[in-house]
Structures are given as C-alpha cells and as structure tokens.
Point group: C2
Chain length 347, copies 2
C-alpha cells in the first residue's frame, strides 16, 4: 500500500507532540524518517517510529532537546546532546559545522550523548545543498566482531559523504557491514546460500548458511580487514574524539532499559575557499561524464553515481506516495490506539 507523504508527516508529528515534544523538533525527526522512506532506505524510515516513541516514553530520549556547546574554537566545536533526539541534535550540529566552514573553510562538530539520528545522508546533504562537501559519521551499538573474533565489539558505523554536483548531489551513504541483517533473513526465507564474506557463525567461522548468522552468529565488515579498519577509525572519530561512549559501552537501541550515548562526527568543507565554484562544477560535470558514459558490461543499461538510484526513487515516491508494509501499518495503528490519536487512513 502507498500513503501520501503529508498524511504520514502529520501522523508522525502528532505522536511526538502527544509526548510533549515541541512541534519543530517533532518535525525534524519526521522529516529525516520521511527522507529515508522516500529514498527507500526503509530500515531507517517510519519503521523506527514505534521504538523512538517507546524510548521517549521511558525517558531514554528527552522529549525536549537540551543541547549544549561544550567548547568552540576556530574550526572545531564539541556539542553535548544530553540525550535529546539524535535527529534534532545532528541537524543543529550540522548547521553549526556549515556555519563554521563559512568562516574557516572547514567546520567540524564532534557530538556526544546523542541518539540514533536516522539516515546519515540527511546531514551530509545539508552541506551539499549549500555548495559544500559534507562528511558525516556516527557510531552505533557494537554489531560486528573484530577480524578473528566472535564477540560484538564494533558498530557497522555509517559514513556519508555528499558533494554538490550539476544536478543532484553525489552522495555515498553506507554502513560498514558487508550486508544488512535483512538480507540474511531474505536468503534464509528463500533457502539460499550467502556469500562466505557476509558473516561468521557463533564460533567466528565464515559460513554460507544464513541460519548460522541468525542463530548467534555475526555480520562481517565490508571487505574484511578494510571495513573493520574503517569501522575502528569511525569509532575513534565519533565516540572517542567527542569524549563519549564507544564499542561495548553502547547498549542496543532496542534495549529499552538503558540510555544510548551515540556520537557523531560532522565535517563541512567550504569548496569556494579552495577553488572557484565554476571550476568545481565544471570538473564534477566532467567526472560524471567519464563515469556515466564509460563502456558498459554485457547486459548493463545504465551506470549510476553514488546516491543516484536513491534520488530516482525519491522522485517517484514523492508523487506516488510512500510504500508502507501491512505489518508496519498495524504497528502504527497500535501506536495510535496507545497514544489516543487518529489512525492513519489509507484510501
């Protein structure tokens, strides 16, 4: 089923505001979830609304943001999210990072005590829409073992880099596991083997049987030691550089007994401080041409730039409506009952 985006936005805002959240903050969280669903990164879309609401109800995420700047010299700033909603904290931090880059050419905001902030590309794109390059990293609860390990010690920490281009920005947004857990489930349901580098079993041994991952196994980092190394450096640039929590200190988002202290790294580069924007855009157009017009492999119709497919989906979904799974619709109905607000009506 498909639902008009305005209805979903209204419903989501109502949920947050019912818990005492100011409209502007509710709207920020909703907007980031909407962006995820429009881009068909459904794992970070309205699927997360019930858990966000539960965490706010339990006092694990503040219903009113209380963000403080711990220090701010030159091109760097350290921000304490004080357990406010991750989207609200990260948006404010990225605005600050962009503003600093306009002064110094660069702006870095390190953030601690934040929460899950949705899709990383939302924030890097804020920079790219203003003729700047945005580099955003977050840590998450540990999910992967070290190379040779069989215990979760490192998150599949997402990294997004967005650069403006002649049309839509070029944007990379990736988690550092080789694949998502959902794909493991999909292979199991279809009785298919998985590639040996997607995960390891409970003993830390690579496996092609999806059930071995589901029953106590682990996802593996993308590209083995390369992805593991990137995940470790991402943890240092987020949890450690901000003076926040990291690795095994961070409980799962679905552990509703404990607060999460999530850290972000938000860097902006103001392109025009280095080269004239005309030079930048003409080079980007040339690079785009080299890539998109390069010889195609047998059977391939189009070559895509990073993020290009997501922009195509976004355009389609903006007019057609947001795809909504039956199961999620039921969860949202339950939420409406619990919060005593009007259910989403699908025509």
């Amino acid at each position: 089923m498909f639902i008009e985006k305005d209805k979903l936005v209204h419903f989501s805002n109502e949920c947050f505001m019912k818990l005492g959240m100011p409209e502007e903050e509710a709207n920020t969280i909703t907007e980031v979830m909407l962006e995820a669903d429009l881009r068909e990164i459904h794992s970070h879309g309205f699927l997360r609304l019930p858990i966000y609401i539960e965490r706010i109800q339990k006092g694990l995420i503040s219903s009113k943001a209380n963000i403080s700047m711990i220090n701010n010299h030159g091109a760097t700033a350290l921000m304490d999210g004080n357990y406010s909603a991750g989207q609200v904290v990260a948006k404010e931090a990225m605005e600050k990072s962009i503003a600093m880059s306009e002064e110094s050419g660069l702006g870095l905001v390190a953030v601690k005590n934040s929460n899950h902030f949705g899709i990383t590309a939302y924030y890097s794109l804020m920079a790219a829409k203003q003729d700047k390059i945005g580099i955003v990293i977050s840590n998450v609860a540990p999910l992967m073992p070290a190379i040779g390990g069989k215990e979760k010690v490192i998150g599949n920490n997402p990294i997004s880099i967005a650069a403006p281009s002649v049309n839509e920005p070029i944007v990379l947004d990736m988690a550092l596991s080789n694949t998502a857990f959902g794909k493991i489930l999909f292979h199991k349901e279809n009785n298919k083997e998985i590639p040996a580098d997607w995960g390891v079993d409970r003993n830390g041994v690579p496996t092609t049987n999806p059930e071995d991952i589901i029953n106590g196994g682990f996802l593996s980092p993308v590209g083995g030691p390369k992805g593991f190394g990137l995940a470790v450096m991402a943890e240092i640039l987020t949890g450690i550089l901000s003076g926040g929590d990291f690795s095994k200190m961070i409980p799962s988002m679905y552990d509703t007994e404990n607060k999460q202290s999530i850290s972000h790294f938000m860097l902006t580069i103001d392109i025009k401080k280095l080269i004239p924007l005309e030079v930048y855009y003409s080079s980007i157009e040339k690079l785009t041409g080299f890539i998109k017009n390069s010889s195609k492999a047998d059977g391939v119709k189009d070559i895509y730039l990073p993020g290009e497919i997501e922009f195509m989906k976004e355009r389609a979904n903006k007019t057609r409506g947001i795809p909504l799974e039956e199961n999620l619709k039921e969860q949202l109905d339950e939420l409406a009952n619990e919060l005593k607000i009007q259910k989403l009506i699908i025509q």
Copy 2:
C-alpha cells in the same frame, strides 16, 4: 636476502642526487620507500626506485621541488606541487596541515600537480605522532571500472587514517580495490581460483579465473558499490577539490611519455582542541582493550588493531634488515651501472 637499511638509504639517496636532486629531497623520497619496505608494503618500497629515477630523467618529475601555495585562508590551503616528487610535496603539505590544526583545530591542505607519494600512512602518521588525527587521501591513475562498467574510470585511491594510541598509533592504510594485482598473479601461478568479487573480465563480467583479469580484465572495488562509492568520493576530495586532474585525465605512472598530475587531500584534527589528551588516551586504551581482549574465533591466537601487524614487521625488519628480492637487486644493479654509482653490496 636481507640488506641493512643504512646501505639501502645511502644507495637510494645517491641515485637521486646523481640527477641533481638536493640531499634533503632525496632523503624524503628514500625515507618514505624505506618505511614501506620496513612495513612490508613492498609494492611501495624500493621497487619503485627505478621508475622514479626514469621519470626524473625524462623530466616528468622535477629533480628540484618547486612547490607554491596558491591560497591559504583559515583552516584550508591549496598547494601546487608543480610536478615535484610526490613525497616531497606531500610531506610539506602535511606539515602545513598540522601547523594549521594547531591554530584552528583543523587543517586541510588540498594539493594538485603532485606525483605518486608512496605509502599514504607515512603522512597520516606524521599527525598521529604529534597527538593529532591525520586523514590522507590520494588519487591515482584509473584502474577500476564503475559498477556495471568495463572501462577504467576510477583509481583504487588510497585512504589512510591514523590516530595516536598509548603505544604505536592505530593506522588504517588501504587502497579501494578488493585486492592487489599481485595477488591475482599469485593465484594464477598457483593455478588457484579467485573469489568472484576480486575482478571482472574484459566484458565486465565477474570471474573466478585469474587469467581473465590479467588478459584485459579489471580489479573490482572493495565491497562492490561501497568501495566504488568511496573511490568516487576520494576522487572528488583530491582531484576535483584541488582543481587538479582526475579519472581518465591521469596517465599511468609507467607511461613514461606523459606527466602525471596527482592530487592529495591532507587533513589534520588537533585532538586537544576538542577534549583533553588524558581523556583521549584513556578512551583509546579502553577501546584497544575491548578489541584485543574480545573472544577469539576457533584457532585464532591474536586479534590485531589496524596497522598493528605492520608495526610488528617494522620492528623485526629494523634489526634484521630489509627483505630484498633477487629480481629487484638486479634492477638496482642495472640502475647503479646506468647512473655510474656504486652497487649495493650484500654481505
């Protein structure tokens, strides 16, 4: 055979100086090659001496550095290497980046018209040895096709991130192809199949036969679209952000008819501008403990941090001497004959 590092340093410096290079510059190039061989990244060690010499002889790399600062505001600077040796340019750029970070908390030097600069970790480690985090990226001649392509459009652009730690720094240094070409050759020689994600054949189709890669095929990016995306963003942060060359504009280093214009991105973060160094080091010690002491998979004795194995090799090779292949010794003897300098003597 093993050779004392001092002998190799002397020999290498003699080669460059014979071509009119000032001793300090010769020493910088030598030092970066030495560091590579000590860390057993032999692909970037003295193996490259003959091609560097040939490029200097042909005027493709200047025998005397002529580096100019195009602009420098706040935390950013743009440098023109004017086709000087990559190591000399990159070392100077990283020194500038570190100095700027001491003022502004961050320092970014974008460099154009440089050359191959050896191992990327050499420069990121300059920052890590001074209580700072270094992030260094370079572009290289295109080597990989786009996802779905069968034409070289993007380099396996190296990225290094180094962060200080209680003992040696934690350092990631990786190229963005799934594997190195040398490993493909090794599998062919041993009649072994390669994993299907290491490369594609001349038609852009994934293959497990190493000969398909060698005969007109291509290396694939690490983790497929993730590595490709990172390689594209790395190209933007280097060739495009510096106003330099990129993608198909860059000829191979072994094409001795044409100059290469290589670009670098050198970013330093001064940790103490964000958090006290004591807090940083105590967190790093904790993270290191979480990772190294995590449960090990069956048969695994030790878990290593990024760069740890290379530091162990470096320690061993510093006392034992540098491993030198017969074939490379012959090439260095030829070079000695040609330049009329004394050959390396192995005892």
